[in-house]
Symmetry: C2
Subunit: 206 residues, 2 copies
DNA sequence: ACAGCCATGTAAGTCGTTACATGATTGC
DNA sequence: GCAATCATGTAACGACTTACATGGCTGT
């Protein structure tokens, strides 16, 4: 139900149609939860059926309609419930780490490619998360400004602080990932030279 | 396809039936990738259909049969391909972090519950990952011993090193999560007292 | 007129979750 | 005889992915 709550959270800033929601999503929530528009549209329909959002349809040309969603009281209640109710942390499904634990099935070069890609990936995300945290801290995105200006938003310092702490936390995690990958690369060099040394010794003994 | 590769990796140690595989899974791969037996049995059937594993059926009572799976050459090829081929890192779906970014929809106490649960969760996992890494480093699990004794296992030091580095990495990540949660708890105290101070000031001014 | 963005979807397939279901063997 | 554990599944549902599909509006 994460997508649902993410969309509700965005709609507390202001009413939006699916397209705008998808765009705003990509520049905010997507830093923790990715979703393509093909998932957003049907989810909004389901949320409408569950009365979490209300829709205003606007004609567009002869056939098309633009659907503007706004959060309902039921929707706000669901957001509150979502945070107030303790939620078990999901079971682990770390495909990346799984590959990392079984690199022995490939060559040393494949292992190097793995760690290099890992390092590059998290170097990128470290920057992105850090920038995003700074932007929120500075009130420097349209979304956060709209959100803080919206009625019934609680203490602005609190709203900002939770997000900043989350994204700085992610940046710190990413930093550790980068360090881990670099150590991995050094480790592979050691493993390979040691394996070669043993192979050479074995050849002499034979 | 992670489950598939995890099962193949386990079968390089020795042939096993679904039940044993599920048990061994829980004490090894499950530290990075969770799967219940209800997923393992059908997956093994599919892997058989794809010739990644071969089966020996053994009668058991009048009706039951025990199915012992072993990895085929095709299966070993698939493991190699899995590691040799660069794989894109999955899109982010971090439900826990999403909740963390939107704690403002609940009370300060709900936020405290969130961070407390987060801290406890990762304290547990930090210990588990660290212990698991140590056990592998010491060759102290049945699986790793069987694996190292199995034919066609490569350099034992390499096999062990990849896993130890992975699990120590996870332990380090978990440690950071714990620190992050503790900082979160301190942050909430600050936010709440500051919000109360502002509320009191507002009351005076009115 | 054409490109680029606005706008909304559907469809097929894969993977994972939770709950249900059944029977055999072993040790006490 | 009974409990624990061995052993193997099915079913319904929910969530996510990738690809396909269609048409409107806007500026040059």
């Amino acid at each position: 139900m994460s997508l649902r709550h993410a969309l509700l959270a965005l709609l507390t800033a202001k009413p939006m149609n699916g397209y705008d929601l998808a765009k705003v999503f990509d520049r905010s929530v997507a830093y923790v939860w990715h979703a393509p528009h093909s998932q957003i549209y049907p989810e909004l329909r389901r949320m409408e059926a569950d009365h979490l959002v209300a829709v205003e349809s606007i004609r567009r040309g002869t056939k098309g309609t633009k659907r503007i969603y706004s959060i309902t009281e039921t929707g706000r209640g669901e957001l509150r419930r979502w945070i107030e109710t303790p939620a078990p942390i999901d079971m682990l499904h770390d495909a990346e780490r799984l590959r990392g634990a079984y690199l022995e099935f490939g060559s040393y070069d494949a292992a190097r490619r793995y760690y290099t890609a890992h390092r590059d990936h998290y170097e990128l995300w470290e920057r992105q998360w850090a920038v995003h945290a700074d932007q929120i801290a500075a009130g420097d995105t349209t979304l956060i400004r709209t959100r803080l200006a919206a009625p019934r938003t609680g203490d602005p310092a609190t709203v900002v602080a939770y997000k900043v702490h989350t994204y700085r936390g992610l940046a710190a995690q990413a930093h550790l990932e980068v360090e881990w990958a670099k150590q991995g690369l050094a480790m592979i060099d050691d493993l390979e030279t040691q394996a070669q040394a043993r192979a050479a010794e074995g050849a002499l003994t034979e």
